[in-house]
Symmetry: C2
Subunit: 450 residues, 2 copies
Amino acid sequence: MNLLPLILAKRAGYELDETQIHTFVNAVSTGATPDYQISAFLMAVFFKGMTRNERVALTRAMAESGETLDWSALSAPTADKHSTGGVGDKISLILAPLAVALGMAVPMLSGRGLGFTGGTLDKLESIPGFSTDLDRAAFAKQMAEIGCGLIGQSGSIAPADRKLYSLRDVTGTVESLPLIVSSILSKKIAAGPASLVIDLKVGRGAFMRDLASAQALGTALRETAHDFGRRCTVLFTAMDAPLGLTVGNRPEVVESLEVLAGNGPEDIRDLTLALTSEMALLAGLSATAHEAWSRATAALDDGSALRIFGDIVLAQGGRLDLQAKGWGMPAAAHRAVLTAPVAGHLVDPDARKVGRIAVDLGAGRQRAEDEVDGSAGIIFARPWGASLARGEEIAFIEGADPARVDRAAEALGDVLEVAADPPTPASLFLGILDDAGYHSWQRPDISRRS
Amino acid sequence: MNLLPLILAKRAGYELDETQIHTFVNAVSTGATPDYQISAFLMAVFFKGMTRNERVALTRAMAESGETLDWSALSAPTADKHSTGGVGDKISLILAPLAVALGMAVPMLSGRGLGFTGGTLDKLESIPGFSTDLDRAAFAKQMAEIGCGLIGQSGSIAPADRKLYSLRDVTGTVESLPLIVSSILSKKIAAGPASLVIDLKVGRGAFMRDLASAQALGTALRETAHDFGRRCTVLFTAMDAPLGLTVGNRPEVVESLEVLAGNGPEDIRDLTLALTSEMALLAGLSATAHEAWSRATAALDDGSALRIFGDIVLAQGGRLDLQAKGWGMPAAAHRAVLTAPVAGHLVDPDARKVGRIAVDLGAGRQRAEDEVDGSAGIIFARPWGASLARGEEIAFIEGADPARVDRAAEALGDVLEVAADPPTPASLFLGILDDAGYHSWQRPDISRRS
């Protein structure tokens, strides 16, 4: 298949029709066209963009390049969440069972971490025995029985996206709005949830550095989801410092379990409640944000979400002990400690820098083929802004390889700052895009233990 | 070699330094980088352009990617001509021996035809026995003895250009000013002539459709040639109708021989005289355009240029009979004739359409791997504007394959027009860019047989 006519048309800024877009995706899927034509086309899209019609056609062709899942046999409304990626973002692990507790079915297909951001699949696989590789029948059975399966995006779901993404990654064509939209949504359209809440991260530790670009992406995502008849709300949240106090796979699972048990850091708990509440609103399970938030809070505090997570882990072969201290998660072989060099306040660390250190430590991947150390991670002893005495513990650096642990501890010591004055508390919630347009978002006034 | 940082820098519009450009060309030459990164970089260059410094660095790196020729041992000044390509453009065959007759040495490396434009190499190879494949020693010997060798651009001259050109051709990145400049000049810089006259074609049968784009390209070519210390003049000439009355390899050789013998169509003769005169001026062999034109005219009319062409052909194994009618060139096996359907004047045909018909006939290539029929071609019986009686012969279509000859005759019949009124004579010379800047160009007032 010779893509030259399509490359020239896009280069000149013409709108391609559905047949032409289908030809392109087919060329990608079949491998019948050399990569050099695909990458030239992608770079032309980077510079010339795509119209809404082109974006929908691209998303549809990519979604239909593989298997599409059908949940019409389930009685519960299907819903899902997508995060554009951050550091310490373990929300999916808490949100999935919590949404089930509120009455939703959550067919969640997750990816692996790459670069400085983590991946839900890696976190799940750090649980001893946990398998994310369910076949379709097992996945469907678990969806019917528990209401949730946490699996990997296999080669059969939107295979064109997998191929395109790996090519975009090495050809400088990642940062293109229509390519981002079609990549995110093709998988979600194929996986079948009726509604989708998007956590669009903005900040120095996010793909989107400024709110204006994030709003453009959010608008395009919501429009395109609507073009497929899916309900969609976009929450814009800050990603300047890591989310929660842990970065790394097992440490993040442990922190997630603490939140599921009604404890854990405020930011993780609030963000999970916010996203789950929006899912409940979209799914028609709650009439108001206040009601949704109350119900979700109760499901965390009464242990029902934790029990559902336990059911999912058990069904997927994982071994956790929900009664034991540390949840039965294996400890890391090596640990280093950072202490405050002076008295003062811990400044919010740069999420991107912390993410990179975690990757070097073995918690993530530089390249897709890198091996991950499930035990590797950074655990902050105190939240941002905490008042520290000189010599007080700030962070623990853990992992299987003592040399990497020492190197990461040194690097983290260079990144962490203790200031005389407490930092200005940063707002986690930047805004929301829903049926009322873009507007500010306020946490419902419900106390922690309602 | 991972080109991603260079792709991202160029995508953002940064100027690359010499080391970065060298890295890119090295990646192309060694084949150590996948084509998808090279094509993404090329598309970014298409959109973001290159500065003069980048263009020089790219041209230098490409020129130095292979062998560079050194003519310092020759006593004659070296000079060459480059045409940006047209239909019926056989100027090189006449110009090379004519420039030698005026005292220049011409190390001419030519290419093959692709698409609707012909190639000098194909024309030469339609002469029985003629070899364009000389080794370096034979080429140097012929340069020293005759003052000219007509050879192919072998893999050892600017190999990076060969690789890049074939990739640009299939990735929609041909029409980029810095890529065009570096492709043209890298070969000429490597081949070593001290001065270069460029015939920049403008019109419906040319790569450049309008004069403004052609002027931008001409300026960039001249600047870059100067950056390498080469003298350079750019002549802008019309390419709306075919040059001369023949299109196809053997027919064009025959027409060239007629011009070398002091006859042939006015446009071919004038364009050759103009380009050769500018070469003589650049080489310091003539003081004025009038003197150069007079000397060149004499060399055509006294047979000295034809004798030099005969020497070159003989040295390169070709068999021609300069005394015989038809010059000893084999006739085509099949011929069709087109006649005027009504009385009137022959309208200048669209060069691009005629070029395409000639390719279909077998005179050129659709793809690089196509075989060429040396005997195939179109011979117009009368020049544009000629007054024709009804039924008078307009054109002959010749070739080895009778079916293709018939098909081409039918297609040409659809393209040729006979109009009641004579067409307005078009100007061949549009302008010139030399030390005086861009200005109009006038044919010196010297009659045909001076």
